[in-house]
Structure formats: C-alpha cells, structure tokens
C-alpha cells in the first residue's frame, strides 16, 4: 500500500504542516487509490479535478503556515450531503442529475476548514438499508473477505460507500449519516471507526432528509482521534436547522487524555439477546475487561424497553420518510415520467424513480399516518419512544457511558438477506435505540470473527458528551490494538 494512503488523518495533518508532503501529492495518491478500488463501487461520482484544485489552494495556505483543521485532507462525502455544483443523488434514480445550487452546512464547514473533496460516496437509496444493496448505482462491496472465501460481502449500510472507501484507503475520512445505525453498523462491518453524534450536534441543513427526528451526520474514519478531528469540523450551531442545538463545539481532540479512571460504564442487560453468537458475547466481555483494566467501574444497568426500539423505529422512520419524500414529485427536480394528468405524472414518476425498499417504507409510513391508524401506530410508537428515552435517563443517573456490541453478526454476503426485509432490519437491533433517544454513539473495531471479519464494539454516551465518549473510545482502541487489514484495499 502507498505510504500516503495509509496515513491516518492526524498523521497526514502533521506531515502536511511539517511540509514532508504536499496536499496535491496526498490527493493524487488517493485518486490513484480510488482507481485501484473501483470494483468496490464505493464512489458514484469522482471529482478528481476539483480535488486537485482544492489541494493546490490548501498547499498555498500551508506554505504560509495557515489553514484549518482539515487543511489538505482528502475526504469522501456520502451522496446524501448536497454539494454546490456537484451532482447529489441520495443514490436514487428519482434525483437524476440533481445538481444543488447550495452547499450543506456540514460540508461547508469542512471546506472552510480546508478539506479536499475526492468524490461522492454510494449509499443505500435515501439511506434506507443496512447493506448498501438498495442503491440505484448498485451494491457496494466490502473490502474485507472471509478467510479462504472470495465471496463478495456487504459493507453494511446505509453509509456503505463511506465505510468501504475509508477501509480500502480510498479516502482518509468520510462523512456519513445515521438514522438507525447507518454510521456504526457499516463501521463495524469494515473495521473502521464510526461516530454518530448527539441529535442536534451537526446541522441537518442541506442533507437529504430520511427521518428528520432521527437523522444525524457524523464521520467514518480509521482512528478515534480522526473521528474527533472530523466532528470538530462537521459540528456547528446552525440557524437554518431549527433542531440544531446552540451548544459550543469543544476541541474534541483535547478530550483524548487516555485517562478513564473512575468512569462508570453501564452494561445494559437487555442487550443480551437470545441467540447472540458466542463470539459477539466474548468480544463484549473482552471490552469490559479492557475498560476495567484502564480503571473504569463496570455497572449492570437496565433499559427495559430495548426490545421495543426496533418495532417503534419501523413506525417512526417510515412515517417521517413518507412525509419527507413527498417532495419528489417530478415537478421541481429529478425524474419526470409523463402521465395523462398531474396525478398520473406524480404516480408514474414516483413508481419509476423510487426503488423497492424506498417504496415499501413510503407505503408503510403512509399507512401508519393515514386516518384511523395514526393513534394506533404513530402516536403509540412515539409514546414508546418516550419510555425508551426515560430508560436511558434513569440509567445515566448512575453511569457515564454504556458498552454494547455494535451488531449481532459480522458482515454477510451480497444477496444473502436482501429478499427478507425483517431479517435485514434486525441488523440495527443494537444501534437503533441510540437514535430513538437522540444519544451519541461510536463503534470501534475491537476484534476479528472466527471467519476473519472485523467486529465492532459500541459505546453510548450522554447527550452532548461526545468528549467522554471519544476519550473512552480512544482508550479502548489502544487496548484492542486492531491492526488487521482488508484484502481488497488500495496497494
């Protein structure tokens, strides 16, 4: 592998500042890595000319000793973030060649800090999926393979392109979004770090909406330190998003002190689900040992409504999606399929523009919001959501953080679960309550499965306490010392 594409963000930043390397060299190495890993289908748009231009501008700043916290760092952007004058599709046919005339707040923050755009990353259509198989642009391939088996595996989803590209060294870091696990689950499947911040930490303005009360942007990186640096850039208070919270953005990297002595870590007993594979259970116990060895206290906690988080999610998320996706009508942007009247034009455009999973979720959402069912489904789910949040509030009166596995299994094969929506939904069983309660969560690579695939552990934090979350994740990362590499990465 190229020395340049194997650098972490923090190492690359140091080398750029020391003028050991230039931003253009770094961008060129990654453009080459993108070409080498084209078979992963992680990128759906290559912006290499723009990357070189941005890298040159970074070099000019760095030469003067100036530049932001991401100056000259080549990143990939999930194709859910609107990028000015750069095609944005949410991996859906219905957006066609939509080219925003504006920039999402998250990406605007990153460009202001000097990041370099390599391209737009594949994802599940409108972020609806757990395997990145629902994209109009085709499935993303996980750079990891099972031992002695070259079957193509999914990278997880919905931020599968982001996770695959970061793992394969086709970018240093990537933006992603998480509605029910879409940052943390793909991070676990690809041996990367995935951070979902507190709801309201990063602005949702200019990010294609899926379920507005759950959606949150965050980074996928190859180290906890890199996640801290990315979050510091991505997060901001934004008057253009009325759910953005006006809390100062800390210097997250400074939180990585390596000291978690006396920290109280909760182990939620309800995450001990029936039929959990022994290796996931063993990994979880290993995580507990690492934290104990670092001086943290372990406490059993109870989140009694855990088993209802996923069913409540599958009412709330489709309901909000059906409302958000009403805007795709073939009038203002994207695909238009003619009909005899305007209603037929709507129905034809939406039938041809949306894929199967998106249609399924819009229909479920429309049903649960329709007259006569609103109280029985939507309101009931929102009441259950209150109970889920209260469970966390009670637990956080006793502990600072919680530790759980990220996923119930390692990555599975492309095509293995796509025909069965419910089995697919179960992928998010450990991640979804975090979204329902609006909390921050992080997945770090913590071990290898019996068949050679990465497994992740998840830490869940208190609202707006990403600092404690990152500090603890950093300690666990050092203990785990995860050094395995995927088979299909750039050389």
């Amino acid at each position: 592998m190229s020395d340049l594409t194997n650098l972490t963000l923090s190492d690359a930043r140091q080398k750029l500042r020391n003028k050991d390397i230039t931003a253009v060299e770094l961008a060129e190495a990654h453009i080459d890595a993108m070409a080498q890993t084209k078979g992963l289908n992680a990128y759906i748009l290559n912006t290499e000319e723009k990357a070189i231009k941005m890298a040159k501008a970074s070099d000019a700043k760095l030469a003067k000793g100036e530049g932001g916290i991401l100056e000259g760092i080549p990143v990939g952007v999930k194709d859910l973030f609107c990028t000015k004058d750069v095609r944005t599709t949410a991996s859906s046919k219905i957006l066609g060649d939509f080219t925003p005339t504006y920039e999402s707040t998250v990406t605007a923050n990153m460009w202001a800090d000097g990041a370099v755009l390599l391209g737009k990353l594949n994802c599940d259509e409108f972020a609806m999926g757990s395997s990145n198989e629902t994209s109009f642009f085709g499935a993303v391939v996980n750079p990891w393979q099972r031992q002695g088996d070259d079957a193509q595996l999914v990278p997880g989803g919905s931020s599968g392109g982001s996770a695959s590209a970061v793992a394969a060294r086709a970018c240093i870091a990537a933006t992603a979004t998480d509605t029910g696990g879409s940052i943390r689950q793909p991070a676990a499947f690809t041996g990367t770090v995935g951070l979902k911040p507190t709801y309201g930490r990063c602005s949702r303005w200019g990010t294609v909406a899926f379920a507005s009360s759950l959606d949150q942007a965050g980074p996928i990186t190859r180290s906890v330190r890199d996640a801290a640096i990315m979050l510091e850039s991505m997060a901001s208070y934004d008057v253009k998003d009325s759910t953005s919270v006006n809390v100062a953005v800390p210097a997250y990297e400074k939180a990585l002190t390596g000291d978690i002595k006396g920290l109280k870590i909760g182990i939620p007993k309800e995450f001990q689900v029936d039929g959990m594979p022994a290796e996931i259970q063993a990994l979880w116990e290993q995580g507990i040992e690492w934290l104990k060895a670092a001086g943290a206290e372990i406490h059993q906690v109870s989140l009694p409504h855990t088993k209802y988080a996923l069913p409540a999610y599958y009412i709330v998320a489709p309901a909000e999606a059906s409302s958000n996706l009403a805007r795709y009508d073939g009038v203002r942007y994207g695909l238009r399929v003619a009909g005899d009247n305007i209603d037929e034009q709507y129905s034809n455009s939406r039938a041809e523009g949306f894929g199967e999973e998106v249609q399924r979720r819009i229909l479920i959402g429309t049903y649960v919001l329709s007259a006569g069912y609103y109280d029985a489904y939507y309101k009931k789910a929102q009441r259950v959501r209150t109970l889920i949040k209260q469970d966390f509030d009670k637990a956080y009166a006793k502990v600072d953080l919680m530790l759980t596995p990220t996923t119930p299994t390692a990555a599975f094969g492309i095509g293995e679960n796509i025909g069965d929506p419910l089995t697919m939904y179960l992928n998010d069983i450990f991640t979804v309550s975090v979204n329902m309660a609006g909390l921050p969560g992080i997945s770090i690579p913590a071990g290898i499965s019996a068949n050679g695939l990465p497994l992740g552990l998840q830490l869940i934090g208190k609202p707006f306490d990403e600092e404690t979350l990152l500090r603890t994740a950093d300690v666990m990362e050092q203990a785990a010392n995860f050094t395995a590499l995927p088979q299909l990465m750039a050389k």
Binding site: T101, G330, E344, S347, N348, R350, L363, K389
Partner: protein
C-alpha cells in the same frame, strides 16, 4: 390489523406511487409482515405517557418575522424537468 390488497391500493394512491397487480400481491405480504412485527408494541402500557416530540430537550427557536431569504427564482428552477421564466411547468390542472 392485517391489510388486504384493496388497502394496499388505497395507500399506494395516497402515496402517489403507481403499483402493478403483481406488486400489490407482493406488497400485501411484505407490509403485513412488517405490521405483524410492530404489533408487539401493543404489549407496552403507555397510559399517561406523552408522545416524544423531540429527542433532545430544547425550546423551539424563534426568529424575527421578516423576509430574510429569496430573490433567486432562477436557482430554484435550475433543476426542474420543465420550467419557463422562473416558473415550474406542469400538465394542466384546471379543467
């Protein structure tokens, strides 16, 4: 609360998604499977529990009631499949 094919058609019409007969048959099964799964929420006693309105405790921000955006119709219609002079073009809606 199982749904039948007539309900699938009704919901598809509300959502403005054209569905074929074959799709209706498949969707009937798939949607019922999902509804059966979410049915377990009925086990939860939610008497006196208020529905969650915001995942994070905050007061809704207010802004001054003034026009502070706009004046770029050309950008708004830039991605439209059909537009004319700053307006979206649609099939005739008034008979």
């Amino acid at each position: 609360m199982a749904i039948d094919q007539a309900t699938v058609r009704k919901v598809a019409n509300l959502a403005r998604i054209r569905v074929s007969d074959e799709q209706v048959a498949n969707l009937e099964g798939e949607l019922n499977q999902i509804l059966e799964f979410v049915e377990q929420l009925s086990e939860v006693n939610t008497d006196g529990v208020a529905p969650l309105t915001s995942a994070v405790e905050m007061t809704q921000p207010l802004r001054a009631d003034v026009v502070n955006d706009g004046g770029y119709a050309d950008q708004i219609v830039k991605n439209a499949p059909a537009s004319d002079d700053g307006f979206f073009l649609v099939p005739k809606v008034i008979e």
